[in-house]
Amino acid sequence: MTRSFIVSACVSDAGLAVPELARPVIAAAEAAGLDLLMLGRAGERPFDAQVLAAWAAPLTSRTAIVATVPASNAHPFHVARALSAIDFLAAGRTGWSVIAEGAEPAMPADMVRAARALWDGWGADTLVIDKDSGVYLNPDQVVRPNYRGPFFDTAGPVNAMRPLQGQPVLVLDGAASIGIDDADVVLVDGPGAPAGSARRLLKIAPGASVDAAALSAFFDAGEIDGVHFVLAEQAAALPAAIATIGALLVNRPGTPPPATGTLRERLGLALPSTASTQAKGARVPEYVA
């Protein structure tokens, strides 16, 4: 299996909600070829990362946006629908993360499981869209998951189709466990033995120096799959910081990731069998204007 060194960054600044500030940040990430740009929560003045992720979809062609979802202020039916739409708009380059943010500690895991069940209510080949025969979809591939959890009950399925990637890439912070052990990407505090199939990204604190040779050695030893820069809070400073990260991207260890395709393809990540009853993402007939 080919492995690519993954470069990710996280920003958490309410100022990002303003397009004059958000555009240069998105453009810098895209120009540098950043694999993931995670939009965090900004404390007292939260902004809605799902809105930003949808807005950023037409502004990116390589960088995937990871939307942080607070379990306390969302419902899995809405979250599943929004992320499904965003994943289509971003051509399969969507990730998500779930945090408690004041909610009961078990609520984020319930959110993840409910959203996964809603997405799995649709088979990969449900859509037919054949004008000649008049068949729009195959009803046999749509099932009602009837999810029941400690906080959320939702009959489903989501009324909007399975996401292009099947499920958006789930990114979780290893230091703030929410009780989900089959995330696609885990953010770790130090190199170590791999656990499961998740990609492990080493967190790098704001302003910390980067030892490219050491990172390369960790990668070759299989102790990390890449890095995750936690950037300073002021969004205006980000384009400069991302330019520094760009140097690492130019000389990244391992095989360069494919230039096109979904985020899962870029990361070489299949849907974990523990996370989904369906192995594949949605197949959609091609749109030709």
Partner: protein
Amino acid sequence: MSKQIHLWAFLQGIGFFPTGWRHPRARPEGVFSMEYYARVAKMAEDACFDAIVFGDQLQSRGAGGRTPGRLAMPTLDPVSLLMAMAAVTDRVGLVATVSTTYNTPEMLAERFAAMDRISGGRAGWNIVTTAHPDTAPNFGEAELPPKDQRYAHAVDVVAKACELWTAMDRAGPALPQGRPVLVQAGQSPEGRDFAARTAEAIFCPAANIDAGIDFRNDMRHRIATVGGNPDGVRVMPGLSCVLGGTEEEARGNHAAILDMGDVPLAIEYLSESLCCDLTAYDPAAAIPVDDILAKTLLPPADVAKSVRPAAETGTPLGEFAANFMRHPRGHNVFVGTGEQMAEMMIEWRDSGACDGFTLQPSYMPGGLQDFAEQVVPVLQKRGRLRTEYPGTTLRETLGLPARLRVAA
């Protein structure tokens, strides 16, 4: 100056006609593609529409648990679609339908604040209380709250959201419009009173000019009664159309769209409309009225009104369904030339039947393109439709104060 016509583009899904997705110029695959949304957003902005509107539904598909196979109902999350469109446009407004019954004021306020900021002041909220009974199980509930409770709750949710927007605006970054434009579409007396107290723009079906005049007069009266300014509210009835170079060609085009339907599609459409799965019944047999009234999730008295007359004349189920599908949703459907359509729109506007129209293209994107090419230039030439936007925010586009800070 002649009365200006406001135009909103209702772009959800595959267009107005259930058969429309099979039209040669329809692109139903586009609903899953950014390129398609960029194309139609620019089409609406180039034609100087006030806003793009997406409806929404929170029920899973399928009356009685069976998902229709021939009826195209792609209901992608409207907020996401509109925000992606915001990134590729500068002026057109973006109005999302969001439920007060299945969102908290905190969720709504945060979402619309983000929408208004990132779009530079172009966000609008079509406030709905959600009426489809199949919605409740998706939110862990057995059934919808009764209508009076839903409306009472909606009043509280909107008031709380307005408070939150005021606080968010002060904390910064500022909300470009102070708060999103509030839109409502209630038809019942409860809905109309709620709209009178809350809305800055109102959607409605109006099958003909007299229905439009009655509705607008009624709303203006209700608004004045609760101390509002009727001139500060835009009444925007739905309008679909099928155009042609001549009347005869337009009629041919209309017939062609309707004829793309078949009985199995019509029965699925009827099943969805009546909230009762009829796909297992023989289309050649009589309408199974008793079964329908026993199984429907809607109030049986309402359903009886639409099925009894046909059942009493012995119309078979398939024929009834096919006729039902030829007249979708009670909106005005104009069939004729672009010149004639512009004429009709001006007459409605000058008669006080509306402040403008919510265009429901017959199919997508061809129906929108036809309207933009054949009707928009005529309205512009007559001085009834702007040729450029007056400002940057949706409030300015609607001729309302550019920024509103205080709760209603």
